[in-house]
């Protein structure tokens, strides 16, 4: 079975903190993605990676960075958390291009 695991279901962080969200997939997929999901806005792509150490900006990369040191792991970093980054964060992975992506269970991040 396909498995994408996000390190936390719920996180509460303070404004200005550096936040790390971790995602691991066990399918040997080349492509990994980070989205955020907000009511009324749907899912929006933050960053994606198509290979180890490779990354591309998505639609809303401001305030975020990513790291992919190993094929199975893709990390999202909030350099200095702000309240407008309170959201549901979803990680996904995909094998070949134009095939379906599989999602993790999501991390509900609250920045206070």
């Amino acid at each position: 079975d396909v498995k994408v695991t996000q390190s936390s279901r719920y996180l509460v962080k303070r404004t200005g903190e550096k936040v790390f969200l971790e995602c691991v997939q066990d399918m040997d997929h080349e492509n990994m993605f980070w989205y955020r999901q907000d009511p009324g806005l749907g899912l929006r792509l933050i960053y994606f990676s198509y290979d180890v150490k490779m990354k591309e900006k998505g639609d809303i990369p401001e305030g975020y960075s990513v790291s992919r040191e190993k094929k199975e792991r893709f990390s999202l970093i909030l350099e200095s958390a702000s309240t407008n980054q309170t959201s549901m964060y979803l990680c996904a992975s995909r094998g070949q291009k134009f095939t379906e992506a599989f999602f993790g269970q999501g991390t509900r991040l609250t920045v206070v």
């Binding site: 994606f48 591309e56 996904a92 134009f98 095939t99 992506a101 509900r108």
Partner: protein, 113 residues
């Protein structure tokens, strides 16, 4: 301008009452259309992939179809456990890289017993 539009935003049906959800897209160079189901507080769960107009996929009470401008998710004789938000996403051709999916805002479906 939205590239992927889902309608209706919300739909309430009685158990057994069949209906259809719509996903229309205005992009060119479509390379795949995907349907997902999402339960509250969870990540989206993959349902179907459609690649070309005329294609159909079925799974239990769900059937997805694709035309050149839209896709439908038909739900036949739904049960309360089919209640969820259904998301549509498109994959565009970019010529390189690993582009992410572009999602619609979803249809929130409630099936009443």
């Amino acid at each position: 301008e939205d590239q992927v539009t889902q309608s209706p935003e919300a739909l309430r049906l009685q158990e057994g009452e069949s209906s259809s959800l719509n996903c229309s897209y205005t992009v060119s160079g479509l390379r795949g259309l995907f349907w997902y189901r999402q339960d509250p507080g969870k990540g989206p769960e993959f349902l179907f992939t459609l690649y070309s107009a005329g294609e159909e996929k079925e799974k239990e009470r769900l059937k997805a179809t694709l035309t050149k401008k839209e896709s439908f998710l038909h739900i036949t004789a739904p049960k309360p456990e089919d209640s969820a938000t259904y998301l549509c996403a498109v994959q565009l051709y970019s010529g390189g890289g690993a582009d992410g999916l572009t999602f619609g805002k979803g249809t929130h479906l409630i099936i009443q017993p």
